[in-house]
């Protein structure tokens, strides 16, 4: 806890009409760590990360990146600040191809005049890289990189979104349930990929309902309950069943964790 958090939020609030999605929520992400965020359905986890990456503007609260206050008004700003996100609903354009989706908003242009002045896309480079990234994830069953995303299976789509974030994140990578629709093999790849990314020095925020995954890769676990951070625990000091108990309200977490 001595290092300064790379991404930090204090007292975030967000309500939708009557529904309170964030209720004075705090958040810290330390450099180089994998932070898991767990919590019941509807606890406000997705809203929290959306607030962190500019997709939702909180009603109140402060966010700091590297100690500097930031006010993202759109996901582009967060992305330019180096925060890359896999959204729970994936944020893919169904009618576009896999390669197009991977490079949406950061297309590669051809070298030289054609690219500089005619702004022509380098299709083949993008396709090649897209295929590489997908292969790293082991998404072998994708037969055609120019297939439109709407023709992919649910898991294949998720793979595309994860590959995109992992390939382009430069400061923080946020993943909202990246393995929810993935098969055993593909999930394993995503976990390995996360460890890879971590090795590159990038911190990761992982939202997941899969406790074995969480306990396998996370350095710290942020437990979210009823719109706020309930506690942060060290997965090496608590068991899965403790975590689940805290998260569902069956047990109260110890003071130390609360203070974390």
């Amino acid at each position: 806890m001595s290092t300064k958090p790379i991404l930090q939020a204090k007292g975030l609030n967000k309500r939708y009409g009557r529904v309170v999605a964030l209720d004075n929520a705090d958040f810290d992400l330390l450099p180089g760590e994998i932070l898991a965020v767990i919590g019941d359905n509807g606890a406000g986890k997705s809203t929290l990360v959306k607030a962190l990456c500019g997709a939702v503007i909180p009603d109140s609260g402060a966010i700091e990146l590297n100690g500097q206050p930031v006010h993202f008004r759109s996901p582009i700003e967060a992305r330019m600040a180096g925060i890359e996100t896999v959204y729970q609903n994936l944020a893919l354009s169904p009618a576009l191809s896999i390669a197009d989706n991977m490079f949406l908003g950061r297309e590669i242009r051809k070298p030289g005049f054609v690219g500089q002045w005619l702004r022509r896309l380098d299709r083949s480079a993008m396709q090649r890289i897209a295929r590489e990234k997908l292969s790293e994830l082991g998404l072998m069953t994708i037969q055609n990189i120019n297939q439109s995303v709407e023709t992919l299976s649910g898991g294949q789509r998720q793979g595309v979104a994860v590959a995109r974030a992992a390939a382009f994140g430069s400061r923080v990578v946020i993943m909202d349930e990246p393995t929810a629709a993935l098969g055993v093999k593909e999930s394993r790849r995503v976990l390995e990929l996360m460890l890879d990314v971590k090795r590159r020095g990038l911190p990761i925020v992982l939202i997941s309902h899969n406790m074995p995954h969480v306990f396998e890769v996370a350095d710290r676990v942020h437990i979210h309950r009823l719109g706020r951070r309930l506690a942060v625990i060290d997965p090496k000091q608590y068991t899965m069943s403790d975590a689940v108990a805290f998260m569902t309200g069956a047990k109260l977490p110890p003071e130390a964790a609360l203070a974390a």
């Binding site: 996901p75 944020a91 893919l92 702004r119 896309l121 055993v184 394993r188």
Partner: protein
Amino acid sequence: MSDDATGSVTAERGLQGTDQSVASFEEDRQSPLKSLQRFLHEYPTAIPFIVLVAGILIFSVAAGGRFFAPFNLSLVLQQVTIIAFLGIAQTLVILTAGIDLSVGAMMVLSSIVMGRLTVTAGVPVEISLVLGLLTGLLCGLINGVLVAVIRLPPFIVTLGTWSVYGAMVIYVSHSETVRAQDIEAAGPLLQWLGNTIRLGGGAVLTYGTIAMILTAVIIWYVLNRTAFGRHVYATGDDDEAARLAGINTRGVYIAVYTIAGFICAVASWALIGRIGAASPLGNQTANLDAITAVVIGGTSLFGGRGSIVGTLFGALIVGVFRNGLALAGVDSLWQEFTVGILIILAVTIDQWIRKISA
């Protein structure tokens, strides 16, 4: 501690030695019909093309040699030029799941500005041409800002600006046509797009038509070969997803409406070339005709799917039907009737081909 991680770990022991090859399925040998279907599935724009060819064949029989003469076919091309221009502008907008009801009004307003400035105000023709083009651009920009920044439904925005630009037309023109002779005297440049090139067999191409085709090529390039084009499709497909994926959807909307306005202004130049004059009348049905061309061309009104080439074919299909019916001696009442039915038929065939090829 990690006493719990066993479950997933044991399951994954089975992963060792996993098959690493890319899945591939045998293709059975294909009948010609099958390969046609597959072709149509991959190139959906081929469908309006087929309908167009079918239409031409039918009228070549029904309306006799007069229809299939090179001159007449080039005439159809001239007649659809304006609608195709507007259709290109409209395609851009519709691809973003919008609609622009003001294209006709923007075109007429631009042409009136060009004509009146040159003839009545005596402004040098080059300057009034530029000002006319800027008028269209500005009108489009206004549409775009209203759609993107205030986030109003495009239908309402352009319905409103249609009224507004229409009123401006009457105000600026005093409802008077700027006569062809006066334009010829004061600024023949405005009629320049009406010049023609003679091709073999009596076919005649106007510069306006060439300008339209050039515009189509440029927009096609932008849509299919540049990042901006991809962003247009993504925004139309699912604008929330596009926003989350880091696209400046607001910028896309503004750009698209502005470009549409500019294309309408270019169309107005071609319109002066075609009718010689700058007229405040007419083009009341131009909006609907342009949208029809876009939709027949296979572009979805819900955004994200479609192409410029389809729109060109769509415009040609309607042009061929109208011309062919008139030449076949069909009464104007039954022309309307038949065009209505043919529009439905054309899209039915399109649907049907897509279905069997799906």
